[in-house]
Subunit: 189 residues, 2 copies
């Protein structure tokens, strides 16, 4: 913790937290994690929003990938977290991009989710607006983020993005395509 | 980055990443974030799983709260991320707990989600099994985590949990209660 007052904890509490974490670390060595299959089976039951993340490569090339490990973090400042597999081809491009765009998919856009997970020219045939990021204009809710640091997360990197621009639907709301039990599900309302 | 090789980046790439982040930081100062209302409106359209997080307070008291900012992070080691509002009463108890249990709600458990967000005795009338954590046994998918550190996330804390035990349904799968557009939605399949 090293006196990081932004955690909003008193100094006393921070000290006790350090002690507790040290104690936990000491005890935990003997407590095994669940295996990867058990973990994946549990996570398959944890619903997640389907999104497509895009950015430019340093040479201006288009990077895009389907991401479902995304969540809201903070309103002040406005932050989202995106978890990226470190072995993914796109990983290094995304974590070093100056802007990324999170496209929040909605019912009927399942094919886009599958498309951006395939080893093909993912942008071929898509309507793309070029600006600070490549925007897929067929997706109505687009959240543009400036990187706000990365955090280590085991075999993934947790990328924090500070939201600098939001394009919302002109009518109604968007989103609502959910990944659950290894398949896309449209939410209805 | 300071040579954190666990990010899986080469030293060269780390150096260029530092430079880029420094450059970005320099430019970004003039680029404002979206305001909190715009952010919340966008996040309301980003679907999220409804869960109840429980743990013990140091005095053995029961802590429980509804959380929807949860996502899978890593399979090896098995990690999940949970974002906790720093102003929430439960915050300091959760980040200093030795174990937390994530209860993944399913269709029909909307009332549980609302209950664990209200200023009442949330555990009253619930079936609770007492062990390393207080487990709500009416929720079929329960993910027990050992804390694996906290990360600063603006007005929230990002708690990483290493999964040490999973209780799954005896039949079929669970989960599937989703928060979207400021209301719970059951997934059907």
């Amino acid at each position: 913790m090293q006196g990081r007052s932004h955690l909003g904890l008193t100094h006393f509490f921070e000290s006790s937290l350090i002690r507790r974490f040290v104690n936990v670390a000491r005890v935990e060595l003997s407590i095994p994690s669940v295996d990867a299959d058990t973990f994946r089976h549990a996570m398959a039951q944890l619903a997640a929003p389907l999104t497509v993340l895009t950015c430019y490569a340093p040479d201006g090339g288009l990077i895009g990938l389907t991401v479902n490990a995304v969540c809201s973090v903070s309103a002040r400042p406005p932050l989202v977290a995106v978890c990226l597999n470190r072995t993914n081809y796109s990983h290094d491009f995304v974590v070093s991009a100056e802007r990324v765009c999170l496209h929040v998919l909605e019912p009927g856009q399942q094919e886009l989710a599958f498309r951006f997970a395939k080893p093909i020219d993912r942008f071929a045939g898509q309507n793309v607006r070029h600006g600070a990021v490549p925007e897929l204009t067929d997706v109505r809710l687009r959240i543009i983020c400036a990187p706000d640091g990365v955090r280590d997360g085991g075999d993934h990197t947790i990328l924090l993005g500070r939201v600098v621009e939001v394009t919302s639907p002109e009518e109604g709301d968007a989103g609502g395509l959910v990944w659950h039990r290894r398949a896309p599900h449209p939410l209805s309302w």
